[in-house]
Symmetry: C2
Subunit: 158 residues, 2 copies
């Protein structure tokens, strides 16, 4: 199933007016009724996982075809993108569901959402710092094994 994934579709009709990142969708708005297997191809998630996300409320109910099959939209794809980012921060799925609920509750939850994102942001900064620390340790050890492979590293499993 070859799709036009990667097509640059300028989504001028969307509502994210300001500081919008250049989003690209496989098909322009209006023709965005993707089957589950197309979304699998776009996102790398499995169909199981997509259905499960819907079941637990991480996505609101997806449009259906007249026979009941899921038809995903461009904004579903955007949401999945964002969920993927949150997943990379190590945020538990339950917290993502909480965020999704806040979004569904409407504008009154702006403050809560902002706080949640800011706390996530702090977590990300911490994690980056930890990883850079780890990188330094790895570089040091790789140095031992590479250059001075002879001199014993002070390493043992105990």
């Amino acid at each position: 199933m070859q799709t036009t994934a990667g097509t640059i579709a300028p989504n001028a009709t969307r509502t994210d007016i300001c500081s919008a990142p250049p989003r690209r969708h496989p098909r322009p708005d209006g023709q965005d009724r993707y089957t589950i297997s197309e979304v699998v191809a776009f996102t790398g998630l499995t169909a199981h996982t997509l259905r499960w996300y819907e079941r637990i409320g991480l996505m609101s109910h997806i449009d259906r075809s007249h026979t009941g099959q899921r038809r995903y939209s461009n904004s579903d794809l955007d949401w999945l993108d964002f969920v993927g980012k949150l997943r990379m921060t190590g945020m538990p799925v339950a917290d993502m569901v909480r965020y999704a609920e806040l979004v569904r509750e409407g504008e009154s939850t702006y403050q809560d959402r902002r706080e949640l994102l800011e706390s996530t942001r702090r977590d990300v900064l911490t994690r980056i710092a930890e990883l850079q620390d780890t990188l330094a340790v790895l570089d040091r050890k790789i140095g031992f094994y590479g250059d001075a492979g002879r001199s014993r590293e002070g390493e043992s499993t105990r």
Copy 2:
């Protein structure tokens, strides 16, 4: 149980001669026979986890007191430190066990160990880049909720 955690003990007798990072141990070498609960306090791991690490071969057998209780050494602490770093990279425990086995097998495994660390290093770099990407997305969204809290973000759960 207050300990002298954080004490700067110059471990001049250790074998990591070159490019050694300034390691600090709660007690100097020679008096380093920590109980499991001391190690819990130092590392933040649970006693359960420490015993489990030993069982699965992530640590080689720990010294025991005359009655069979575990007594951890400074180099055990160093190893746990390193394991903590590897854990932060998202490396599966099974891979860490593999690395531990390589260390136990001796110098003949230098090449393998180096390759493992280098592949881990690449993973870490990738992860840092992903997180920085995520950070940009978060900052953008936080901007929406903060400054122009009124203008609708192009966000919905679908």
